[in-house]
């Protein structure tokens, strides 16, 4: 218990003021620390929603911040008493994003088990049924394959559904529809139909939930041609990715993590989205590139504290976009540090890490001074016993050891 919350505390402080990102002068009320990594044009390219806001004057109705760059820690000292934005938990951020999109576009609807009257098993849809009605927040019977297919059919005919898997693992039952229809219909119809569906839900290894409720489906889904995958890890990017996914014309799978729903962070009051294809620079550094996503981000940041004390300067990137990879951000990092460590919760075999190693090796092999290291979960069903469960996922101590090895 304690280990996670330590990590959480550190992370919350780190990602607290993303609104001070790139060049736009309109938001600066609190002091803005200049960042050591400023890629200029690259952050201005907004690929998911096609709009770029570089105009500091004139607030349009929807000004979008498409990039989230976390500051280094110790920004607490710089904050004034009247901080901009509002504080909330990750599940509330998801809900806020969903609610805003439902208000903005009447075609957005939610389908899933217990999303309506119950408010969602992790409270992401709490209160929405009361506000929008039973048809817009549809409580389905327990028939994942069919209601996912129904969502896809609805997406083909003009709606923008958000399908919730009560636990991502349940979506294994919907694999047929997600793969054959969600992924493929845009192609097999010769481009006639788009499938603007979002499929989301909690996954990952929780607190002794047992093998079947502790699965990481990102590795199973990654090969499906035609779908996009993103993983959120902070309240800021959770809301941003939820909104971007809903606005996207492509089928997007949004991976949330069971243990991250109660993370607290201060997020902007303004409307913003996060670019679906972009990775997030969590901590710029010089010695080694650590690529991670979802919950492991916090284990990495915890290890980072230890590493900094030992004199290392790790660069931590939350890849966020699991398919496609943001090879631009990742590549720039590899070119700078020449060493790569991947830390993931996926299984080692056929996981996201495995694909990432292949992509980096193919594209940036000349820039590497050492073989890429990948720390993944053990290739076993997640045990029930807490001590065993802890050993199946990557712990901060292992990350520290790996970096030390890599930097020898």
């Amino acid at each position: 218990m304690a280990a996670i919350f330590q990590g959480v505390g550190a992370a919350a402080a780190l990602s607290s003021s993303p609104s001070n990102s790139f060049g736009s002068k309109k938001f600066v009320s609190s002091p803005c620390r200049p960042f050591s990594v400023r890629k200029g044009a690259s952050f201005a390219v907004v690929r998911s929603d096609g709009r770029v806001n570089l105009n500091p004057k004139g607030r349009r109705a929807q000004q979008l911040i498409s990039n989230a760059v976390a500051t280094k820690s110790d920004s607490a000292a710089a904050s004034s008493s009247s901080k901009p934005g509002h504080e909330l938990l990750l599940f509330e951020a998801l809900q806020e994003g969903l609610e805003e999109e439902m208000e903005r576009d009447l075609r957005v609807c939610v389908m899933g088990e217990d999303v309506g009257h119950y408010g969602g098993s992790y409270k992401v849809t709490k209160g929405l049924a009361k506000k929008f009605g039973d048809l817009r927040v549809l409580d389905t019977p327990i028939a994942e394959n069919s209601f996912s297919g129904m969502g896809i059919g609805a997406a083909m005919t003009g709606l923008r559904p958000v399908v919730e898997g009560m636990n991502m693992g349940f979506l294994l039952l919907a694999f047929n529809q997600i793969s054959n229809n969600g992924g493929m219909l845009h192609y097999t119809s010769g481009g006639q139909f788009t499938i603007p569906i979002v499929i989301r839900g909690p996954g990952g290894v929780g607190r002794q939930l047992g093998a079947e409720h502790s699965q990481r489906l990102e590795s199973y889904f990654q090969s499906i041609p035609g779908i996009q995958m993103v993983a959120c890890s902070t309240p800021y990017n959770a809301k941003g990715l939820m909104k971007a996914a809903i606005r996207s014309e492509n089928p997007v799978i949004l991976f949330e993590h069971v243990l991250l729903y109660n993370l607290k962070e201060r997020i902007p009051d303004e409307d913003y989205i996060c670019n679906l294809e972009e990775a997030e620079m969590v901590r710029p550094g010089e010695h080694v590139t650590i690529l991670t996503y979802s919950r492991m981000r916090y284990h990495v940041m915890q290890a980072a504290k230890t590493l900094v004390n030992k004199g290392y300067d790790p660069e931590v990137i939350d890849i966020r976009s699991l398919k496609p990879f943001d090879l631009y951000t990742i590549g720039n990092s590899v070119k700078k540090t020449h060493r790569v460590l991947i830390v993931e919760e996926c299984m080692r075999t056929g996981g996201i890490g495995a694909s990432l190693i292949a992509a980096i090796t193919e594209n940036f092999n000349d820039y590497l001074d050492a073989p890429i290291m990948c720390l993944s979960s053990q290739d076993v069903p997640t045990p029930y016993a807490g001590t065993l469960e802890e050993v199946t996922v990557v712990q901060p101590a292992q990350i520290v050891t790996a970096v030390e090895q890599l930097c020898q």
């Binding site: 009447l106 075609r107 609807c109 009605g133 048809l135 817009r136 389905t140 019977p141 028939a143 394959n145 069919s146 209601f147 996912s148 297919g149 129904m150 969502g151 896809i152 059919g153 609805a154 997406a155 083909m156 005919t157 003009g158 709606l159 047929n176 529809q177 054959n180 229809n181 219909l185 192609y187 097999t188 119809s189 010769g190 481009g191 006639q192 139909f193």
Partner: protein, 283 residues
Amino acid sequence: MVLGRAFEDKCAKMYYDRKMLGFVHLYNGQEAVSTGFIRLLKQQDSIVCTYRDHVQALSKGLSARAVMSELLGKATGCCRGQGGSMHIFSRKHNMLGRFAFIGEGIPIATGAAFTSKYKREVLKEADCGHVSLTFFGDGTCNNGQFYECLNMAALWKLPIVFVVENNLWAIGMSHLRATSVPQIYKKGPAFGMPGVHVDGMDVLKVREVAKEAIGRARRGEGPTLVECETYRFRGHSLADPDKLRDPAEKAHYAARDPITALKKYLIENSLANEADLKAIDKR
């Protein structure tokens, strides 16, 4: 129906000439079902089928040229050659697809029906009475997606008609060997919707039942399950040697060929004469 039959026969010829490759499933014998139902639909109504449905596409309004081009993998095909025989789609005609895996299209059709209801109730498009039809075979009726969708459609009173083309055979598996209760129409009431059985070789009878079912859906009264007893004259696909089916059974249904039957009806009832019918054949 005649266009459909001619089209399918042409497909067979091209396949055996090796101009068409892959899996091709022909509809000969089942034309009455397609015509009976689809000719009653408006353009905004949607249909979803499984792989045996070149003729459904033609009935819905796609041009024979577009479909044939698709079957030959040409870029001028309705799906730019990317879909092929088992994946015909047309956004314009609201043909939401043919699917290769059986049962897969049923949730899609359910989704289209959901959109129709949503448009009426949430988006307040008051006159939206779009109906969704889903065609599938006897084999599909033992598949989970069928039952899951019967449940959801009845639960939310979705404007959908489930049309079973029971041709008694799933490749080489006889319907009677695969199903505990072979009367498929009986499964409707178990889920809270009417289940109707109709002679699928008689286009006028099919049309009558279709009118009623589609009308029900349009009025918001909910789904219907229609079982059409029909037969395919050819094998499952053009690669199927078709050895298991009893010749006597085939002869029995060949005698009930829907096209011949309708011709006979038209002539007997003086709705058309031989010359008119020959003219249709020529086209």
